[in-house]
Amino acid sequence: MIIIGERINGMFKDIAKAINDRDPGPVHEWAKKQEYNGAHYLDINVGPSSTEPVEAMKWLVEVTQEASDLPLALDSTKYDAIEAGLKLCKQPAMINSVPAEMAKMERVFAMAAEYGAEVIGLAMNEEGIPKDADMRVGLAAELVATADAFGIAPDMLYIDPLVLPCNVAQDHGPEVMRTLREIKMISDPAPKTTVGLSNISQGTKNRELINRTFAVMAMANGLDSAIADASDDELMAAVAAARIILDMDIYCDSFVDVFKQRNR
């Protein structure tokens, strides 16, 4: 599974402070740490409180690239900030994210085509997050079709079925699983899938257990990637085991270490 490391995010106090003080230290540290732990992409989010998101994004992209060669997932609802970041990315990046709303899709897919970026597409629109799988798959199909019109192949898209906390929206769980399965039938090649893993456990006890259980269940239903905490050792071990059971990696006794070290 492709892990998009979630830690360089202004929602975390240390990163917010680093952005504010223009102190590269914590950003470098988290970039290296997440890469070491097996992340494949680094999510870059300036956080909700930033007053100058474009400048903050530019700084964060440059500083992160000083410490890591991993591709970046530029995470913002402000597309000017994403575009400013894309210009600075040394290798093709990922845009996180766009909902199935026409004006936003037009802006984001044009940008993705120009910079060769992958895109995370959210299975939601102006009306919010659908409750059932059918609506989610319908929105995913809209994302695939619109991307295609901009010359973006379906496998450049990561569809996020959108996960709600299991303590407030328990009935969404099975719908998300079904959505993951059915997204794979939209097109050939199929779009990829992703989730913001820790959303499932917001406000619950035993968050790590819920996160990793969800991760392996979702993998069995076709999940390709997750925005997750790469330094959660138990999560990474569970993903490694799931990859063996799904015949995605050839078993060997060191399968956990091999999975974690594949980037080193």
Binding site: D249, I250, Y251, C252, D253, S254, D257, V258, R262
Partner: protein, 324 residues
């Protein structure tokens, strides 16, 4: 409308390993051989690169091997001289490289000392200018005493040495690490052990991960060839899909295995319906080897010069560009 031919795209690549070293690199070989580097399944030139042709070695033993008498015409005069034997294999029979099997070190046979074995290897190195592979007698306890003296005596030559096994990989690996040789990692027709052993060797020294040759253990035709074949196929698919711990060139003792079987050896008198023995043996060996070419082998160790000839012709055909 033009039909678009779908071609498989692979993420991974088999690592390239150089065998032997010329004077510039501290050895005395006339040339080196590079194996591996494939970016597609065997000989599918239209889907990727097969940059290096598979190579064929002949075996040389350090004692009279008491092989089937049909070998006497070829090797009878050199059984007692490993140097002359190796020279004949290269100059008369066209072997790309030589594999020395130090069978005489077996405590139940001649119990040759580590110094004797190192001298044999030196002798072969002096007799031929092709890259040389060296394997022990097959008894781990004795073989572990051989690796260091041989590795040191041949320092700089970039030998291929073996074998490392899951339960016994450290001595041969450290001998190779210290003297810059290539190691053969042998697993018993088991993909999981194959991968694990490569990991363990690479853990001893990351530099060794590009100096490993996989010996998946090849069986002869009729004796489990399909098991070896499918393990090799799986390993190669893994390598091409990006599994670095399986992305090494592969090697197999096709001659040794084929000539252990009754189908290669039994006389015409005993089995008149099976056809003439020598021809049958050659075909048994060549057919075994051909199957392994198709499953991605990079180094074949053969025994009969006629079987080698067949296989080299086969490789010539398979290496013809079929891309479109």
């Amino acid at each position: 409308m033009a039909v678009e031919i779908l071609k498989e795209k692979y993420r991974g690549k088999v690592g390239e390993v150089v065998l032997g070293a010329t004077k510039e690199n501290g050895g005395t070989r006339g040339h080196t051989i590079t194996v591996g580097g494939e970016t597609a399944l065997p000989f599918l030139h239209f889907e990727g690169e097969i940059p290096n042709r598979p190579v064929v070695a002949l075996e040389v033993w350090d004692i009279n091997p008491e092989w089937n008498p049909c070998f006497d015409d070829y090797y009878g005069d050199v059984y007692d001289d490993a140097g002359a034997w190796a020279k004949k294999c290269v100059e008369e029979y066209g072997a790309d490289l030589i594999q020395v099997r130090l069978k005489g070190a077996d405590p139940d046979l001649n119990d040759y000392s580590p110094e004797d074995c190192a001298a044999t290897v030196k002798k072969v190195l002096e007799a031929v200018s092709v890259p040389v592979m060296v394997i022990g007698c097959g008894k781990a306890e004795k073989d572990n005493t051989l690796y260091n003296p041989i590795a040191e005596a041949a320092a700089g030559e970039n030998l291929v040495m073996g074998v490392a096994e899951l339960e016994n990989y450290k001595s041969v690996t450290s001998a190779c690490m210290a003297n810059n040789h290539v190691v053969i990692a042998q697993s018993p027709i088991d993909i999981n052990i194959c991968k694990q052993l490569n990991i363990l060797i690479a853990e001893m020294s990351p530099a060794m991960s590009s100096r490993i040759i996989i010996d998946p253990t090849v069986a002869a035709l009729g004796y489990g060839i399909e098991y070896s074949y499918s393990i090799m196929e799986r390993a190669r698919n893994g390598a091409l899909q990006g599994d670095k711990m399986l992305a090494m060139p592969m090697y197999g003792n096709a001659g040794f295995e084929s000539w252990r079987q009754k189908e290669a050896n039994i006389s015409d008198e005993e089995q008149p319906g099976w056809g003439e023995q020598a021809e049958r043996g050659i075909l048994w060996e060549a057919t075994t080897a051909m199957a392994y070419l198709q499953s991605g082998i990079d180094i074949l160790v053969m025994r009969h010069p006629e079987a080698l000839k067949v296989i080299k012709g086969n490789i010539d055909d398979l290496m013809k560009d079929n891309s479109y």
